[in-house]
Symmetry: C2
Subunit: 237 residues, 2 copies
């Protein structure tokens, strides 16, 4: 059951046939954070019907984008193939592009750990980070807690349980979290307006879209310099 063909012999068409079906690119987005079990994907995409999830995973495997990896005595995970991982700059660019058109959230829109992780990756400015001192942020948005480490060499994000423990390290990509963060802050979806530059950190605190829980509040300035999406700049570096 090949996916319905567009009837053209063209690279864009082929790409859309591979990853253009509903939900497919969101599965790829989550897998770009790290390998995930079926159940992880289902939780990260709460509105996906389970039959669609399994159908997409099969199609993505057929397309060479995803593979299924058994874990010794521990179930199995899905992960991107090297070919699938080449989608990273594309997904990041799409995130930046879509970010510009985001309005305010619908009442039932949610923020997941993987989507926020990728959002920070899309907003990360390596050039800014390379000229700034290192920093460790603990970011709370809705129920998601992220430990964000920035230094001149790049960006590392670990997902913490709301309780405070890191997720299963077997699932990879999480750097071990050492020591305390330099700042802990909590935000709502309005954090978008900080990243777009629409709000300064001070204004964000004023308008209660953001609150510093602990640590050095002045680091918010550095955060806002490090993570920003400016209109018209879509290309990954």
């Amino acid at each position: 059951m090949a996916s319905r063909s567009y009837g053209q012999y063209c690279g864009v068409t082929t790409a859309v046939e591979l990853i253009g079906e509903r939900w497919a690119l969101l599965i790829v987005r989550d897998l770009l954070v790290g390998p995930r079990r079926y159940t992880d994907l289902k939780q990260g995409l709460p509105k996906i019907p389970t039959n669609i999830l399994s159908t997409r995973l099969k199609e993505l495997q057929e397309g060479g984008v995803v593979r299924r990896v058994p874990l010794l005595h521990c179930g199995l995970v899905y992960e991107l193939t090297p070919y699938g991982r080449e989608l990273e700059p594309i997904v990041l660019a799409m995130g930046r592009w879509g970010f510009q058109q985001m309005g305010d959230p619908s009442p039932d829109d949610i923020v997941t750990a993987d989507s926020l992780t990728m959002a920070l990756r899309t907003a990360f400015r390596a050039d800014a980070a390379s000229t700034l001192p290192p920093a460790d942020y603990e970011v709370h948005v809705a129920d998601v807690v992220l430990r964000v480490h920035v230094d001149p060499s790049g960006l590392k994000i670990a997902q913490l349980q709301p309780a405070g423990r890191p997720v299963d390290p077997r699932l990879g990509t999480q750097a071990s979290v050492a020591g305390d963060p330099d700042i802990v802050f909590a935000a709502g979806p309005g954090i978008r307006r900080l990243i777009s530059g629409e709000l300064t950190p001070a204004a964000a605190i004023d308008q209660e879209v953001l609150a510093v829980v602990a640590g050095d509040a002045t680091l918010l300035e550095r955060f806002a310099e490090t993570f920003r999406i400016e209109p018209g700049v879509v290309l990954a570096a």
Copy 2:
């Protein structure tokens, strides 16, 4: 009738809601070549049902990706907004990504002028062109005839009618075509294997995937250096 929401507050999700529906990105691909009338789009996407085309155009307008421009006494065209044009590097990158997975064409796969134009853009290597002398190619693939001008400043592609006349210049993006091309050659879909580096020009002629109609056959080497998609290199420059 907002498009079905994925229920997440995330840039990638927003992007997919804007351009992820069936056919949408192919419409964008064709509009990246230049403004197009409804009928042009229908011809460039022969398998699209007309109700889907009009629905997508409405959705893309609502999303701020496309706008409808009346032409004085001459009907109307659809064109990308500046925001829509920001998709260019993304579509080019997707073209490169999909190119790697393209097999041989199905018997009923076609090549359109716009898809071939974009394919050459995806394959164009500005770095190679900047060190090579200028060249003018006339490329025939199936029924499509393209006039391809390369010089160190970049790439210009004009679509010719099979008869040899340029298309309506009102529709823009076509440079005026001056003088004769340096080489005229005809190829089938197997030109893909030249661009992938799988075949040298000499081998391509040997295997009859390509034939020189007129001009300097040695220019095929330059063509093959200028247009190439190598595995793993997806990012636009």
